[in-house]
Amino acid sequence: MEKAAAVLDDKKVVAMKRLALVGNPNVGKSVVFNRLTGQYVTVSNYPGTTVDVSRGGGRLGGENYEIVDTPGVNSLIPNSEDERVTRDLLLRENPDVLVQVADAKNLHRALLLTLELAEFRRPMLLVLNMMDEAMSRGLVIDPARLSRRLGIPVLRTVATLGEGLADVKAAVARAAVPSAAVPYPPEIHRSLEALDGAWRTDFSPKRAVSLALLSGDGSALTWAHPGLRPGETEESLWRRADAQRAAFVRPPRLVVFEARDGWVKETLGEAVYRRAGPSGNWASRFGNWCMRPWPGYLIALAALYAVYQFVGVFGAGVAVDFLEGTVFGRYIVPAAQRLADLLLPSTFLRDMVVGPYGIVTMALTYAFALIFPIVTTFFLAFGILEDSGYLPRLSVMMDRLFRLMGLNGRAVLPMVLGLGCDSMATVTTRVLDTAKERLIVTVLLSLSVPCSAQLAVILGMTAGMSPRVFLLWLGVVAGITFVVGWGSARFLPGARSTFVMEIPPLRRPMLRNLLLKIKARLEWYLKEVVPLFVLGTLVLFFLDKFGGLKRLEVLGAPVVQKFLGLPAAATQTFLIGFLRRDYGAAGLYHLQMEGLMNDRQVTVSLVLITLFMPCIAQWLMVVKERGWKMAAVVTAVVTVIALAAAGGLNALLSVAPRLISS
């Protein structure tokens, strides 16, 4: 996650006006954000890419604004945590301008949200994005009529191409408080009036909060209390709302919804009409194939195979060989050695740079020759999958399997994102509806979903061995994922939510966005990962110099050597594996290259490094998202399962070595 917020200091924020981008999921808010601020936040083609608020600055209509990107919401009465983030932001920060980004193909849903936003009584703009897709479907939208009905400026854009954004910037100055008059039935008006007495008159979102309370959503109260009149408390207001709700025969939320729905339908009738458009193009036909058992599962396998060829064979094979063998092996390392001999007088310092645990020989070689080509190819392959809109279709295919694990198809997204980076994926669990689902996915991410760098090293290590090793590794890891998920589904309290998910259209990934995304991820890699590699190498270097490494190996011997049957040198890889899992994996890779491990040991260590403790970054993220207690439980569970599985596998392979011999 890019943290643009840190760039802005507090004084500036106070002086600047604030603009919030809001809208339904997957309508292009983040693209608009990138265009308005010139900063980059991740953009993908599936709902729920943005789960946290991003901030940046931009000059709009002659004024400086702080621009806030928010997670997509279908309603401001939240169903999940990411929807809460947006509602809370509106109440807490009371933005000066709201810019609603809408999918022009799906105006009905967008306008329902517009009406909810209108209750916050803030100046607004409506941006109809993806106009190209709407037009190709034969939709003709009259922005002037829409603007008249709503009482706010309405603009048309194709944000990915930058079309229409200049108009948006210019229109910010004309933003207006919506004047749309929804004909709510009298009982709603009566209830609103009854609650009105509790609010200060200048508290602009009072109607929005009152409506939320009438709908039975008390979570809005947390941020609304500054708007209460003296003498009123959250409890007294909640009691008032309760009394009002009791007078309704039908749920008030439904009554409000129907009034809005009627207004929206009328508006659409006035402002939108449909020409017969071309239907069933190739992209949509192929998109539909991806969701059917036939040929959907075949497509999933083909996609997996393509990623394997590109990342595992090309990235981890060809590219690594070239960078490690030729670039580092022949040029950089020898040059560094010569330079060190010349410049560094002491053996101690020379070893620190170019020794067996040297910064150049170990940290930089691992980081740039081993991991870098692999993550680059992975990010590229993954970016294509993300931007094409394939992942939500995979959710459809996997829903039934995931239900057995107490989850539903929506959980496919965080799990697949975990293959990129488990720490980021842990944050993405916020898109899930229930606490139980969030916990199960957190455990599985910590336990059995290998991150890109780790996966890449694993692919690299198994590439030269019998295919049985890879299949056995895959079988053990997938089996444990399923058994742990299945068990948690049964023994954890709470319920699974049902699977309802919007499927975005399949799109050709745009090179510009793809490159921006890879650039952002590689920058993150260089900034956060490389320093950790250097740190880890220094730790190993000092431990080695002062004999600590030997002592740790002796200490770990009963487990590492006896129980797991691994060479003593493997101890250090698990030690630094906690710093970065891929660093640990890279260590294993070297042990294998140097011929220090046989096939059984490689297989056992692969399973162990996959299942074992997450890296520090992910662990901190688990603490942040789930709390200390849960993090401790997750750690214990993961450690026990990882050791048991690896030990069991070692015992099995000692008895039946044929399982992995070619």
């Binding site: 193909k105 709407a134 919804f257 059917r292 459809v396 198809g409 699977f499 309802v500 919007e502």
Partner: protein
């Protein structure tokens, strides 16, 4: 049954006629048509003069030593039976009354149910075909209308065929959180849908967007077919 009074209070005589027709219908159902047997049963259930009354009103005719309904008698009998058996259904299905008490209570209720109310009850209960004891309930106008129009048209999504189109009629989710999730995603009564696939998940085309959902949710969405 042609009173113009708003709340017709049945007279004793009318009640006797209705009760008598009820008895006769039941015997006819059991293929008992002989005058002597019917006379005996009517005397026991309603009164000595019951058969005379029905014959005098021109509701029953003799045919040899058997009895048959006149057209008017048949119409009235069918109506009273329908009200009686609907009343039984109402008492047992909605008010959960014990089976033993059904008949006696239904007997009292049937006389005060107007034709409009019997249609409402019939619709409320989903146009039942049988009373709780398993005897057929004669169908009314509302049942015929339902059969012609509604039944083949409004179906839940899991009963639709692939590629079928329609408009969403209603969602059976009451005040469930699921309901609001669906509404905000555009699954709204009146919205046009096309069923795109049913396995491994249901996929709907909803206006210009596609929505995937699991079967448990699809079962609760009812669509008026085109």
């Amino acid at each position: 049954m042609t009173e113009d009074k708003k709340f017709p209070i049945p007279t004793a005589e009318k009640e006797d006629i209705e009760e008598g027709l009820n008895v006769v219908w039941n015997m006819f159902e059991k293929k008992v048509r002989r005058r002597a047997e019917i006379q005996a049963r009517l005397t026991e259930a309603v009164g000595e003069k019951a058969l005379d009354l029905l014959m005098r009103e021109g509701l029953l005719r003799e045919s040899g030593d058997e009895l048959v309904f006149s057209p008017e008698g048949e119409r009235l009998a069918k109506d009273i039976i329908r009200r009686h058996r609907l009343a039984e259904r109402l008492l047992s299905d909605v008010l959960s009354m014990a089976r033993a008490e059904l008949d006696s209570n239904a007997c009292r209720l049937e006389h005060i149910i107007s034709p409009e109310i019997s249609e409402s009850i019939c619709t409320l209960l989903g146009h039942p075909r049988q009373c709780p004891h398993g005897s057929p309930i004669p169908s009314g106008d509302c049942c015929r209308r339902e059969e012609e129009n509604i039944r083949p048209i409004v179906v839940s999504l899991d009963n639709m065929k692939l590629g079928e189109e329609g408009r969403i009629a209603y969602l059976l989710l009451h005040d469930h959180p699921e309901l609001h999730k669906l509404l905000s995603l555009g699954v709204i009564p009146g919205a046009e849908v096309r069923l795109h696939q049913t396995f491994p998940s249901f996929v709907l085309e909803l206006g210009d967007s596609q929505l995937a959902l699991e079967e448990a949710v699809a079962r609760n969405i009812y669509v008026r077919k085109k």
